[in-house]
């Protein structure tokens, strides 16, 4: 008798797995008609980071996030900046034994206001993230994730009540780019973003700008216009500088002028908060969209000045979108 095949419905890859086969994410395995997570409670990275590193610029500035990741990813981006762990199998990484209760305990003991599911793609450690987020939420610790948004609607909706904020990598507005460079599809990512907005998550967008691949003005315009229209003009967008890594070492780093152009285009499309990441400039600061004054001054991950009190600009009293307490 043929063994039962398993269809994983966590992400849009919909892997169909025979006995002892792993999903394309490398983190889930079918055994005897059941699907198992290979990474539950087994992070390959656990650090205390500034929340600005995620990056979240409108969420509890100058606080720390207890950050965890396991091996694996739902995509296979050729430019991945964490490919050593995201494109690795769990048996090839050095993993800690850290069940959800211990993650929450460590976060609390180290005065971290948030737990961040990050570095790799948190969808691959869905069960671990969900259990940890539930526990953390009970203790008043906020939960954030940095995700590519490559997750199906049902698991996302089940997870959403326990997640406060998501920084989503919107890598391009081109379906071909997602297919050729990331090994995935664009539409599920856009659908996930709309679900997150409906579910009330605080969303920030990151776009890694790759020379020649997604750095045209038309592309910036399309991305910014979609964000403004579907997520709202108050959604922060981070244009991030690319450095040659992994399979795209042939490309140069993103020129600073390209990033400045991206920011100008996005602001012309109506976005209020547009940042440039991975590069020191004035565009890492927050300016009140009403009075235009500098309200959060950053130097890399360090917050040098904070003029937001109770979610309002201290100069003009305008409400600044985000999570501030």
């Amino acid at each position: 008798m043929a063994k039962t095949k398993i269809k994983c419905e966590l992400c849009p890859s919909y892997c169909e797995l025979g006995d002892y086969q792993k999903g394309s994410c490398r983190a889930r395995i079918a055994v005897d008609g059941k699907l198992y997570s290979l990474v539950y409670g087994k992070p390959c990275a656990a650090n205390i980071d500034p929340i600005e590193k995620k990056p979240f610029f409108h969420l509890l500035p100058a606080t720390t996030a207890f950050s965890i990741a396991t091996a694996g990813c739902t995509l296979s981006c050729k430019f991945c900046q964490n490919w050593q762990i995201s494109q690795a199998s769990p048996e090839d990484t050095d993993n800690a034994d850290l069940p959800p209760a211990n993650v929450v305990e460590l976060a609390r003991d180290n005065d971290c206001r948030t737990i961040s599911y990050t570095y790799t793609e948190p969808t691959v450690f869905y069960e671990y993230m969900l259990d940890t987020a539930r526990l953390a939420g009970e203790l008043g610790i906020k939960n954030t994730m940095h995700t590519c948004g490559y997750i199906n609607p049902n698991p996302l909706m089940e997870l959403s009540p326990h997640i406060d904020a998501a920084n989503v990598d919107l890598k391009s507005m081109s379906p071909d780019f997602y297919q050729d460079v990331c090994g995935g599809k664009l539409k599920p990512v856009l659908d996930a973003l709309i679900i997150m907005r409906k579910e009330g998550l605080w969303i920030e967008i990151t776009n890694l700008v790759l020379p020649t691949l997604n750095d045209s003005t038309e592309e910036f315009k399309k991305l910014s216009g979609w964000v403004a229209q579907n997520l709202g003009p108050d959604t922060p967008v981070h244009f991030s500088r690319f450095f040659p890594y992994y399979k795209l070492k042939n490309l140069p780093s993103t020129p600073p002028d390209t990033l400045k152009k991206a920011r100008e285009t996005a602001m012309a499309e109506g976005l209020h908060y547009v940042y440039i990441g991975n590069m020191r400039s004035d565009a890492e600061n927050t300016y009140c969209h009403s009075c235009k004054k500098l309200i959060i001054e950053r130097m890399g991950y360090y917050v040098a000045k904070m003029m937001v009190r109770d979610g309002r600009c201290e100069y003009c009293g305008t409400s600044i979108p985000g999570i501030w307490k």
Partner: protein, 43 residues
């Protein structure tokens, strides 16, 4: 060494061996958590 001393050492050795084997067993045992969001095909 008298009989009681010998039995005491044997007891300690047996307890140590049992704890050691148990520890190795637990450490090496698979601790996989069943995943969510999947279904069986062809049933």
């Amino acid at each position: 060494m008298d009989r009681r001393g010998f039995l005491g050492i044997m007891f300690m050795a047996a307890a140590g061996a049992w704890l050691g084997v148990r520890g190795m067993w637990k450490r090496g045992a698979p601790r996989l958590r069943e995943a969510m969001h999947y279904r069986r095909l062809g049933e």
